[in-house]
Subunit: 331 residues, 4 copies
């Protein structure tokens, strides 16, 4: 249930509503909006008796929330959320391009790629320092050393940094160095990591699991938001199907589906879905055209010598072309 | 194998190559192109001894075709095929929009919708006269009566007609009335229908089966082409996956995948994939942006009273908006 | 709706009910059962006014059928159907094993394999004369010559014959020679073939499409039954999924799912699902244990020289072991 | 690579091989077998020069391991592994039945169900104390209180306990109370949890992710084994597909697929796959028949009042019937 406050309700009115909700045995979370504040009730299993709430000063009405998710729902927060980090606005007018290598390999590699993606117009640099790998014997990333390189990229090149935290240990250090903390597809239902992400001071980029429904993705975002972190960016990155022309099947219908029911900004990772660089430009154009708020793209100055996933990394000239072509797409 | 002729090779040279291929026990199919003619050898199971072919007048070289499909392959026909029907060019510069109701219900209904889609810029009118239905007890379409209405739409409104043939019987009459014969997703591997379509005098719009790989779609197109009909348009219409936010998952990566290996024009049906009209506009924009040569869209002047699939039919004003928005997409 | 007759109702009573249903504008199909006869009403779109039917002599009651399929439903026919062909009973106490090569290659090949499967206890011989092939250039079967070989196997070895009809043309000749007409997975929604199968004088073995739901399989069986052929055997043969350890994923839950809602006998084809002979014996045991009424198994005396799908054909000694092991399974 | 020792090789010989492997820059893990000891080399990226290893005393030969997983592979450990916990042998002659409620709700509930499953022949009691839940607002289990109840069940009823650890925190306490630590499907690629499980003193039951391939499941088991815990039981519990007759599609072909390439015991969870109790008995029979080493089954004395997933819990009389029927299945 949502308790919608009147336009002239004061902070004291809102606090009184929260206290009354706690008296009823639930939790009340204020959701300030552009037009009005609402207080979301969580923790109830069935209908809530709203008579005492409606009697409080400043309360306009109550609304039943029909979805299992609440804080991520457009019902509780009708305006689309814009996540602003410095000058960069994710969820705003212009799509935000996040680009870089699969893994940070060295300072030289990171700077080479960062300079070229910056020059083409990317605002965020991606690169893994902690890599979730199918095999225990594969390269697992440079760890904190990689994060320090990313921080240097941030400071010297002026790009925001998005990088993945893969567990409860490295999320502490990722939080310290990154501008956006990525939770990968395989961890989308790692609930203790989600709860920890909900306590982080940085925005979270949450990738859809490759076999997760849209509702499950939103429930995972709800885990993060229910801990207090409202800065969540969702990411479609392909799902597992029988189809074998791409590594995974990019589900671009996820974008209008999510935007219909949630206020959270949503970006697309065409590189991991395609698994082949040849398809990344057309899929990027498609993603922007369906309404994605940004892209997460793998770029490498020398893909054939990339430490991992070289097959899907764009060559610099391909990335330059991608940036030019998506500028022509009216969303 | 492909026997590539010299630029100055004559028709007699080509015929001599075809005869020699027949002497070797195979079939030879001439493939005229903008730059050169090639003769495709089909019917061989392993490598072909090309020494006698290379010795013939007018032969430039032989090329081994690496794919199981040959006539549909870009290896044998490097230029993209443009299918011209009157003034309409499918596969050319501009995407071609095919729009109309799921089923022809009456002359009045068809004309009402045809007029409105024509006004918005559609060049082809879609509408089923023979409907493949999951249940034997459902409305199966108006049959030939429906085709006559479509012919009247063609003559009086000036739209091309695409409509589905569902079996060996009704393809005869569909061929008579339609400008483009549609083979539906459930018939994509109905090989006797494909062979019959290969003997038709009209272009074929072949829909991808909802569990077919790209290779299987191309092999089905090869069935049609191997019978002599080179006018084949492919159509992505969504595949079956676990994902439940849409009826089927629209696989827009199919477009670059097909265009990489085949010269055939390819369109997208966002209506059947989405199953909900709310997603048709964004998915249409995405389809055009990834490079589709056209769209197949369901439109109804009164969706809530449509005889079938009303949930996915666009309202007239939505279709008008769709046409306007896709005009802004640079492919 | 189902009109249930009293135990002492006469044939004249039943005919009067059928006539009254026709007067109401629908079709009435008598469904004789062990205990009672019922008349199924088809062709209605909404509720039927049963007052005049209930007033007729011999009528006990009417029952609303809740499923989209009617004739295949256990609601209209509570007893499990047993299809008896000579001494062979499909759907009875003992599972019926149908075994043989993918394709009939020659009289010698067919007889060699038929003798060995007969010796091991198989009652039905399988072998394709008309093969639905992904490629137009692949071996498409021996055609009628193959059917004549199968007839000879029937006559001289004493096995029933199941073989596939792939279109409206060859079903005529398959009906003439075969004991059971197979409709393959790719034709599960070839409705004109289903209707023709519904007019056939022989039982139909209908395979589940590799992306068909159970409800769709039952609706396809309904097409056959609605034309008058009540002898339908269903077959699970694997579905398309992301999983790559087998060619298709054998869905053994299909057996209890079908038996819950339908009275039709259901068999399993482990060979096409597995795509590898190593898994055929365990999957056969699993199929019998979940309650399948039989198996369709590929066997070849010399798999490495089989004309098609040799990889999945059992060696003779493997088939002998399979027959021994499934005899130990209590269903 | 695998260094196979002679039958009469001593422990000192083995240790010398391990040291030499470390000198080469890799890790060497001894794998004692019934017939021979082998030392598995991990950490190499390409071929290993085995000349110095072959020269060591007690070394018989080296074998190249062709799979990405090594310790779980049957190549390195040809005999099937039997995990013995007290008298219970998982992977031996008889399938081991693990049964109990979805969640531990109270001491009374746990004891009621434990007594009934023990009486029917189950050897292991299942029940969740930490529940991974899609919604942050759902009941998340009794936590350590639940574990203490399980320990009491172990001590007073004499059943082994299997219960899930969902993160790095609760695995410490689960390890203390449980006999077998379960890693759930959603955590199959939670690599830090897998590494921690690899350091545990108790056997691990690792469930296949609902979109994981067999190779990925085995790679996750490799994570556990590479940390030193060789006691790993695998579990098939259904995969996500388009098919809607069950919650997930139980992939029984996983059993022969795993057993072909791995020596680890493998059990089946039919309850979570089916999502409906009606299908649990036939699927259990199927699982035993294909060769599963055991079952994980949900049972509740009062399913309609179960705290979660009541729809799939067996009634006591159904579980009694299941135990009787699987006793009749010859594997």
């Amino acid at each position: 249930m949502l308790v919608v406050m009147k336009n002239d309700a004061t902070e004291a009115h809102v606090q009184a509503v929260v206290r009354e909700i706690e008296n009823l045995g639930y939790r009340g979370i204020p959701m300030p909006g552009a037009q009005r504040t609402a207080v979301c009730i969580i923790g109830n299993k069935g209908p809530v008796d709203d008579s005492r709430l409606l009697a409080l000063d400043g309360v306009k009405e109550t609304i039943v929330v029909t979805k299992p998710y609440k804080l991520v729902s457009r019902e509780t927060h009708p305006e689309s959320t814009i996540i602003a980090i410095g000058d960069v606005k994710i969820g705003g007018e212009k799509p935000v391009i996040m680009a870089g290598p699969c893994a940070v390999e060295s300072e030289e590699q990171a700077f080479t790629i960062a300079r070229l993606v910056k020059k083409c117009g990317a605002l965020v640099f991606r690169g893994g320092a902690f890599k979730p790998r199918t095999s225990p014997y594969s390269f697992q990333g440079l760890g904190e050393e990689g994060l320090k390189i990313l921080e240097k990229v941030h400071n010297e090149i002026g790009l925001l940094i998005v990088t993945e935290a893969t567990d409860h240990t490295n999320i502490d250090v990722v939080e310290k160095y990154a501008d956006i903390i990525q939770i990968g597809a395989r961890n989308m239902q790692n609930y203790s990591l989600l709860r920890r992400a909900g306590q982080a001071s940085k925005p979270i980029l949450l990738k859809r699991g490759f076999a997760a429904t849209i509702d499950e993705l939103l429930m995972s975002a709800e885990y993060i938001m229910s801990e207090g972190n409202t800065q969540v960016i969702l990411c479609e990155r392909g799902i597992r199907t029988f189809s074998d022309n791409t590594r995974n099947t990019l589900d671009l219908s996820a974008i209008p589906s999510i935007k219909e029911v949630s206020h959270l900004p949503t970006v697309v990772d065409p590189s991991h879905a395609a698994g082949r660089r040849e398809y990344v430009i057309p899929l990027s154009k498609g993603a922007i055209a369906v309404g994605a708020d940004g892209l997460l793209v793998e770029v490498h100055h020398d893909p054939s010598h990339a430490l991992s996933d070289g097959m899907q990394s764009l060559y610099p000239e391909q990335f330059a072309r991608l940036m030019k072509e998506i500028n022509n797409i009216n969303r």
